[in-house]
């Protein structure tokens, strides 16, 4: 598997808070990688390392096989970035932003940029500070897309946006990966969107990596079984992440090979009543032991 980025044993501490705790993961080339976690989980910190905005305290970060801190001109020029706070100078007008960015990116496609500007209906003369939240996100997205980056990195791209702009975001993600060899990483707490477009997912909670696997694997290897037991289910049931009881029936959220788990439950004296694929939300909660805290909608 070709990777576009590799993070190894990355740790970052701020005084008493551990923002990233020994994170290791690889971003396969050509995938849509969903980084899922709540507020303060460490998503933005992780992304900033990829963008060369933070120097690792411990561990290594590689993008396109290079160090984004020491080789920014080679790495960043092939990346597109949309930060969570959209970080764009308010005084700049839309067409000025486009001209400004064009100077940075040799691959900037002015026709494509213009196409995007029209699609987003952004007034070229409007100052960025006069744009609505959604329009600002679109301006940022334009800046991230127009040079057709090999690696598109979006930090909470949909947060606080209306459904129309959200569609633009999802559409941009899909268009990017549909072009061979290009990769997208986006962080989100909106699991519906992650479900739609991600083919790889990492879940992060309080700086720790809970889960990191292809989407397909995550879905086939998590099962919600409903079963009856004589009394309570055994504590040592392998793969058990979470259990709950209602009306004498036990709901078991398990992680592992489905057939093996099924047999295991029966062997431990359980009578299987139902078997379902849990939602991504359920899977997150089962691993984290806590709900995914939503950022403001």
């Amino acid at each position: 598997m070709e990777t576009v980025a590799r993070i190894t044993h990355l740790t970052r501490r701020y005084k008493r808070v551990t923002a990233l705790d020994d994170i290791s993961l690889e971003i396969p080339k050509g995938c849509v990688f969903g980084l899922v976690g709540g507020n303060g989980a460490g998503k933005t910190t992780l992304i900033k390392h990829l963008m060369g905005m933070l120097r690792p305290q411990h561990g290594t970060v590689e993008v396109f096989g290079m160090n984004p801190i020491t080789d920014p001109e080679k790495v960043l020029v092939r990346m597109g970035y949309l930060s969570e706070d959209r970080d764009l100078p308010g005084w700049m007008r839309v067409h000025e932003l486009m001209r400004y960015l064009r100077a940075f990116y040799p691959n900037w496609d002015p026709e494509f940029a213009e196409e995007l500007r029209e699609q987003f209906q952004l007034d070229p003369h409007a100052k960025l500070k006069t744009l609505s939240r959604g329009q600002l996100a679109q301006a940022g997205l334009l800046g991230a897309l127009a040079h057709r980056p090999d690696f598109l990195v979006l930090d909470e791209p949909s947060s606080g946006l209306d459904p129309v702009v959200r569609r633009d975001i999802l559409s941009a993600i899909i268009r990017t990966v549909a072009d061979e060899g290009r990769t997208v990483l986006f962080s989100s707490h909106l699991l519906d969107e992650v479900d739609r477009v991600a083919d790889h997912m990492a879940m992060i909670y309080k700086g720790q990596l809970l889960l990191n696997a292809p989407m397909e694997t995550i879905k086939t290897e998590h099962t919600r079984f409903t079963a009856k037991f004589d009394g309570a289910p055994p504590e040592d049931l392998p793969g058990l992440l979470h259990q709950a009881e209602f009306n004498g029936e036990w709901t078991l959220l398990c992680h592992g090979d489905r057939d093996t788990l099924r047999e295991s439950i029966t062997q431990h004296g359980g009578t299987l009543l139902e078997e379902q694929e849990p939602s991504l939300e359920d899977i997150f909660v089962a691993h984290a032991g806590a709900p995914l805290q939503p950022s403001e909608a």
């Binding site: 899909i174 549909a178 477009v197 083919d199």
Partner: protein, 130 residues
């Protein structure tokens, strides 16, 4: 051609696509030879990962519902394929089971259900109902 998908707690997205395409074919709304949207176009339309569409198309192909032609996209397969009648019956059986479950919940017996089917069918073909 309008397909809809519901992400989240329903059936996996690729399976929703498969079921809908099969339904459209069985209903005659997709006819043999009709061109399917490209994987990329459908992914854009539904706002889902192209791999998911690719997977659905692959499964539909292996089930004889779609046919992928070298360099000229994917089309609906010839309805004369031996799988098609079996597939159609399977889909109908699913609906019948749903109907029977519903009837049972509502407390109707088999005779009443059959009567109702006949009545509604008459209405559909424009005949008089007493």
């Amino acid at each position: 051609m309008q397909l809809h998908i519901t992400p989240g707690d329903g059936a996996p997205i690729y399976r929703q696509i498969i079921d809908q395409v099969k339904n459209l074919v069985a209903a005659g709304r997709l006819k043999p030879g009709d061109e399917m949207p490209t994987i990329r176009a459908l992914a854009q339309q539904l706002l889902i990962n192209p791999n998911t569409v690719a997977r659905a198309y692959r499964d539909l192909e292996s089930q004889g519902v779609l046919l992928s032609r070298q360099g000229s996209g994917t089309v609906v397969a010839d309805g004369g394929s031996p799988l098609a009648p079996g597939e159609r019956k399977r889909l109908l059986t699913k609906q019948v089971d749903k109907l029977l479950t519903e009837a049972q919940h509502l407390g109707f017996d088999e005779e009443t259900v059959i009567e109702l089917i006949k009545k509604r069918n008459k209405k559909r073909s424009g005949e008089d109902i007493s």
